[in-house]
Symmetry: C2
Subunit: 309 residues, 2 copies
């Protein structure tokens, strides 16, 4: 059995995190580095040095595996802007829009663009999530489906014939944190074990809502359910979590589709799966190494296009 | 023309504010005092002294106009708990549940209870707003209607035959503040004149929403509309305000009713009126002195009950 040769250094470079993967010919992850050197921690001009220091264990000259970056590093606030590709956006459209930097010591560096959906109620965007979605598609040898990347800004994307045809962001995680940490709701909340009962009550409240503004009412119920001891203090945070996550899931699946693939941390993926189960939807976890698989797929497509030029 | 005699000292004592009214026989306000000595600024045992100091210009002994308190002062965190009265709650049910304190220097002090609606999706409550609603009813010689008291926690109440039959709280103001001050949305916002265009865009977004979770998406649009320069930085705060206020109004009027009375500050009352106009609803301002009028009405009812006993 031969060892997989290093073919690519892929970096998922976000606002607050830096995750680098040494990726083999077959898309396997040979090694991995994580740090908190996200783009918000860097000044203009510091990116190449930060990158070179981080990947030195794998490469210390212009020679070595090529480097491909995805995520917010390609935004206006990042290293070099890689303008958004409009939906429908598949591997080929995105590879065609990859932007390169000729770094002084590291040589050519590729930056993956984000995706823009401007066809509905306003512009909606993702950066980095598209790469993970292509990884999930590659891992499952699939060309369609509904994908969700839960978190601070949850991203839902619909894929048809290998292309992202629409995307929608829900500010679920950040709204949850702002409500819990910066409103009266936090006062009655107590830390504790994860509460299945609180979470389920929140999901059920979401399911019973009729109009969007009802959410502003059910959010307040987090307080009165605590005040009147219908829920314990250690259940309130999970109530609010279940309420917001289920509201997001119901909205994102309102046009049909009873299953989706969740690309996220094990904890959040479980929460989405649990909420889906209560709502009668199947939210199944994606394979784990979607970032590296997606970077490998995009890089391969990019190389193919170059050799064809 | 004889001067109205002082008949009552009414205090609207909330968590962060203290507003006292010297009320005449006819319900007119003869004098008024405001301070920031809300209940959160006081320790147990400090209430009588704070009250006596505040109303000294009107009364400096056990003699003088009787004192009636409404608002959060009657909550568990206040001076003395006045347990909630359940809906339907009219003047007579609330007056019957007034709690008294025999204060050492000021003599008997009456505390108005709050109202509880526990008939639907969970317990919902108000404290102080019921008094303002009875003031609005008295001022317009009315016994029914839909009333909204906008703010941090917006309260909507339905009145039939002089009784509050249901109430719903929307955490609109506090959600707005948490999102603006403690999420990424604030970063693109710029201070400026009130933006009619931003507000209207927010109301229209709310009108177009279909399911509750859509609100979590439209909240995020505050960011992308700014990023893509569809709205200017000085319009974004009003966009978010219009979005949340209109979502609340649509939810609160979903069971019918094309008009409501707004009891609030001139600024918020105008915002609700403007949002209502865009949505085809008539949200008209209440008379200004609803607190004092309501306190006078409740006190009168309480006296009548006492003399009948």
């Amino acid at each position: 059995l031969q060892r997989d040769q290093a073919a690519l250094i892929g970096v998922d470079w976000g606002t607050s995190s830096f995750r680098a993967y040494l990726i083999g010919e077959n898309g396997g992850t040979l090694d991995q580095i994580e740090s908190n050197r996200g783009i918000l921690s860097l000044q203009p001009g510091e990116h190449e040095r930060a990158l070179a220091e981080a990947i030195r264990p794998w490469r210390n000259s212009a020679d070595g595996p090529p480097v491909l970056l995805s995520g917010m590093i390609g935004s206006r606030q990042g290293w070099r802007e890689a303008p958004y590709v409009r939906c429908p956006a598949g591997l080929s459209e995105i590879a065609a829009a990859i932007v390169t930097i000729n770094a002084s010591a590291l040589g050519e560096i590729a930056i993956v663009p984000g995706v823009l959906d401007d066809a509905r109620d306003g512009p909606d965007v993702m950066r980095g999530e598209e790469t993970q979605i292509f990884g999930a598609l590659a891992a499952t040898n699939s060309a369609e489906g509904l994908y969700v990347l839960p978190g601070t800004h949850s991203k839902w994307a619909k894929v048809e014939t290998g292309r992202i045809v629409s995307l929608t962001t829900y500010m679920t995680g950040e709204t949850f944190a702002a409500l819990r940490n910066h409103t009266i709701l936090g006062r009655l909340m107590k830390a504790g074990e994860e509460s299945r009962g609180g979470f389920t009550a929140g999901v059920r409240s979401a399911h019973a809502m009729k109009t969007p503004g009802d959410l502003l009412h059910e959010i307040f119920m987090t307080r009165t359910l605590g005040l009147f001891e219908r829920l314990r203090g250690d259940q309130l945070s999970d109530y609010l979590s279940g309420l917001l996550i289920a509201a997001e899931i119901i909205a994102a699946t309102k046009e049909g589709g009873e299953e989706a693939t969740v690309i996220g941390s094990p904890g959040l993926t479980k929460r989405y799966g649990d909420a889906g189960a209560i709502l009668g939807l199947r939210l199944k976890p994606a394979p784990e190494n979607c970032v590296a698989l997606g970077q490998r797929a995009l890089f391969g497509e990019w190389m193919k296009r170059r050799s064809a030029d």
